[in-house]
């Protein structure tokens, strides 16, 4: 177990280092120099030259990269030119907001997809199975922005039950809980289809195994066959996939955040990218990769916990 963690921790650090370098090169070696991006199109050439020298941008990229990592290691994340605050003042707030959205969505997606996937895969090609497959295919086919527009046109425009934006400011009309309903529903519907079909496929495969047939033939109640024999084996692969969804929920929900004007991490990254806010992009990309690798490690861990054959 200790070796497992050490190996993965090493891999995590290595990936972060590689990615930080790639992002550093990508953002600072682009057409047009950094000082120009910081100052904008209306700055004079002298101002750009002045800032370039002041920021030390005329030095080799490797020197600057080492210096940059040194700054990061000492907790200096830089200054966001888009939001006019230090990066650390905005990034953790936004991450917390997205984390809340992700946690609520995850708490709904996991039980719901397990329920639907297992129920569908239990009896392959039954009417119920086909209905669930059709439903999940359709919801997974509708892009998040379209799903958001469809839901909003019904519940906001036609019925007026819910607010169309989720800015999280406890406004006069709508509570924060009411604001969260539509963003969460959009994420759940979009993500559900993929997971349901994964779990269903895994369940179908397990149900064809000889030990299930043996259990059924020896007269074991169907319920017990499912709960006692099929479930654990059917959940090995899906658990990994489910944990990987955390990755999507943190960094991929930018579309939902944009539709509902939600002050989250993804929308912050989009704004940073559009305004060429380099300090924020670099740190944000690192955070995103950190989350990605961490969920992968969690996925491996979950796999090990469920499947004793590869433990050790």
């Amino acid at each position: 177990m200790a070796r497992f963690f050490l190996k993965h921790l090493l891999f995590l650090c290595l990936t972060l280092l590689v990615v930080s370098f790639i992002v550093f090169v990508l953002t600072e070696f682009t057409p047009g120099d950094v000082a120009r991006k910081v100052l904008g199109a209306y700055a004079t050439q002298e101002q750009v030259a002045l800032l370039t020298t002041k920021m030390g941008l005329d030095r080799p990229v490797l020197v600057r990269y080492v210096e940059y990592v040194d700054h990061l290691a000492h907790g200096d994340l830089g200054y966001s030119t888009r939001f006019k605050v230090p990066v650390k003042d905005i990034i953790f707030d936004r991450l917390a907001n997205t984390g809340m959205l992700a946690a609520i969505a995850f708490a709904i997606i996991v039980p719901l997809s397990m329920l639907l996937g297992i129920a569908a895969g239990m009896r392959e090609s039954s009417r119920f199975d086909r209905a669930i497959m059709l439903f999940s295919t359709v919801t997974a086919s509708i892009p998040e922005f379209a799903m958001g527009v469809f839901l909003a046109s019904v519940f906001v425009v036609a019925l007026g039950w819910l607010p169309g934006t989720a800015t999280l400011t406890g406004g006069a009309r709508w509570s924060v809980a009411e604001q969260l309903v539509l963003p969460v529903a959009t994420i759940v519907l979009f993500d559900l289809g993929y997971l349901v079909s994964m779990i269903r496929a895994s369940m179908v495969e397990v149900m064809q195994r000889p030990y299930i047939r043996t259990a059924v033939l020896k007269g074991m109640p169907f319920r017990q066959v499912i709960v006692g024999h099929a479930l654990r084996n059917a959940m090995i692969n899906p658990v990994t996939v489910m944990l990987l969804q955390i990755n999507y929920l943190i960094t991929g929900v930018v579309v939902v955040e944009t539709v509902f004007a939600y002050p989250g991490f993804g929308r912050m990254m989009l704004e940073a990218a559009l305004y060429k806010d380099i300090a924020l992009i670099e740190v944000g990309a690192l955070v995103a990769v950190f989350v990605a690798v961490l969920t992968q490690i969690l996925g491996d861990l979950g796999y090990m916990m469920l499947d004793p054959r590869i433990r050790g």
């Binding site: 086919s141 509708i142 892009p143 425009v157 991929g252 990254m269 990218a273 990769v289």
Partner: protein
């Protein structure tokens, strides 16, 4: 339909052992005609393909022409069947021309990803050893990277154009294809006909492309169909986020982005392009269900 599919599936390995038999395998697609999801999928795809191909003749107005008189009442009318958008542009014309955009960019990107991914996957599976290790590691990293963040950085920093979008999609989707082809290659490289080709003194490239790759076409076709759906979503999302194809040419995601703020007043402006993109993706995903049902996946 499933019974026939299964019988066909059992018969398949014999036929597969003979490489390069032309298009006879197309006959295996025949059961598709009895699969309801596949037929609905094909109908939806055909609808948009025809709409895209015939856009210059079908569209009643040029896609970027504003009808200022229609601005007072942009809702559907006799002059504008689906209404106009916030700039008085005919929505029907824009949706048809938008289909053209998406149905050009998405297939090119998917073909690019399939070609690149197949080649890489073949090499990894055929040579194994350190080549396999390096390729697998790199694809794992690409697959674990939050793709949307990568899109944002690259497209915002280097500008967004059709070429850039195709390049980024090709690079990020290729690992998925590579993984599938690698798995199949690992299995097929041990077959007798591969050994025979080696004895004949065929080059590695010939063996990979002529002996092995044709046998991966079943899973590849299903995967390409799935990837088409996801790629159309990606293109729509990029357009919606404002880092997609540059305006003013119509693009479904961009149309939604421009108008969803006015939804409480003119919902049709954003609902129509949303319905267009959703129906096209549903079409591809239903078709891939049908393809899987008839056993092409195996």
């Amino acid at each position: 339909m499933t019974v026939e599919g299964k019988i066909d599936l059992l018969a398949a390995p014999d036929r597969r052992a003979v490489p390069g038999i032309g298009f006879a395998w197309l006959r295996r697609l025949a059961p598709l005609l009895e699969s309801i999801p596949a037929m609905i999928g094909i109908a939806l795809i055909l609808f948009w393909v025809l709409g895209a191909a015939l856009a210059p003749w079908l569209a009643p107005y040029p896609p970027n022409a504003s009808d200022l008189k229609a601005l007072a009442h942009p809702t559907p009318s006799a002059a504008h069947w689906l209404g106009t958008d916030h700039l008085g542009r005919d929505i029907l014309s824009r949706v048809l021309w938008g289909a053209r955009t998406v149905l050009t960019v998405a297939p090119i990107a998917v073909l690019g990803a399939t070609a690149f991914g197949s080649l890489v996957g073949l090499c990894a599976g055929y040579y194994r050893g350190w080549i396999d290790l390096v390729i697998t590691r790199i694809s794992d990293i690409v697959l674990s990277f939050p793709v949307i963040i990568l899109y944002m950085i690259i497209l915002a920093m280097y500008g967004s154009s059709a070429i850039n979008i195709i390049a980024v999609i090709t690079l990020t989707k290729a690992p998925i294809i590579a993984r599938i082809v690698r798995g199949i290659t690992l299995e097929l490289r041990e077959r007798e006909y591969v050994a025979a080709a080696k004895m004949r003194g065929e080059s590695a490239l010939y063996i990979m492309l002529v002996e092995i790759l044709p046998n991966a076409r079943g899973p590849l076709i299903v995967e390409m169909c799935l990837r088409m759906g996801y790629t159309i979503i990606t293109i729509g999302v990029l357009g919606f986020l404002g880092i997609g194809l540059p305006p003013p040419d119509p693009d479904w995601g961009g149309m939604v982005k421009d108008t969803y703020g006015m939804m409480s007043v003119w919902p049709h402006m954003s609902l129509i392009p949303c319905a267009a993109i959703s129906s096209l993706v549903i079409g591809f995903n239903l078709l891939s269900i049908g393809l899987r049902e008839i056993g092409l996946r195996d």
